[in-house]
Symmetry: C5
Subunit: 86 residues, 5 copies
């Protein structure tokens, strides 16, 4: 997982059927001082994260473990909203 | 997932049998301002993306979750055509 | 797997239900001389690692093999506390 | 997947039993103009690719989807010989 | 897979139970001329590789395909000792 900031979102009308209704947020990985590191990626959001929020992002098959995402071609998801970095 | 631009395609006559009929597009990852980042990769396309289009690309085992791709050795696929980046 | 140093932790009140009770540590990969390499990531900790400790970190689906983590959207975990690098 | 050039091969007498009989080619990722990008990796070859050929390489669990590779600890394979890059 | 040189090992007394008895070697990826590339990682060794040896390393879920590693949180393993790079 890593810390990231939500920086935007993506709209795709024509897409894989199983993805209809999924929100796709653009996120930028950050370090613990919230400095950007690495490239932007697109993560599915089922938690309701808003632009500018600091979030915990999971990647790979891990994000399809839960019932909501099973059967969806998703490789990154917002797992939580981060309240505090210690 | 990430945002990418379709920049070409690849023709391979001699290949794994299960891949016959699959279109292989060359894609270049871009950031939300459509600036190129990272290396070109090759993604399977079942949506009908054309050269120059901005697309959403999924990677890893996620792209074999659907029925179409089960049993195919595919590690990246075009999941949707992006209409708008916000 | 890789060697890392625990450099902090993350608090997320609003998160995927299955993650309630999981400790999320911020770790920094290091080489065998404990020099930092690469980006910070967030790893689940079930071992009780403390800030400043040198740990062994596993990634990907491997960290969900055990019974504790099955069904949790986790892609990195602290597997052990390193006593000695030879 | 990505485009790569076969640049060599590797001989390993002492190895995991399930890998006996597998050809291991050293490949160099290239962009669509065949310029090298990234690091060399080792890919299993079941297609009969020769040194200097431009190939399509798959990675991760995708390459163990087919019957031939099931049960083999392989994380990269040559999926096809590329005839043309457009 | 990739070519790597064994450069050390790691001792961890406190660790996941399923990892007791596993040897953890520090490896450095190298190119075909044995020049170091990329970061050090830690790989499980079931073959008996020694410090200084050139080995073939596999990553990801592939290394848990065999019976020995099933159920162990391992994401990289030494698959063979390389005799010759051609």
């Amino acid at each position: 997982m890593y810390i990231a900031k939500v920086v935007g979102n993506v709209v795709a009308t024509r897409k894989e059927e199983s993805l209809v209704g999924t929100r796709f947020m653009i996120i930028q990985q950050v370090d613990k001082h919230e400095n950007p590191i690495g490239n932007e990626v697109v993560a599915a959001d089922y938690i309701g994260a808003g632009k500018g929020e600091i979030v915990l992002v999971g990647t790979g098959s891990s994000v399809r473990v839960g019932d909501v995402n099973k059967g969806k071609p998703i490789d990154a998801a917002i797992l939580g909203i981060i309240d505090e970095i210690q």
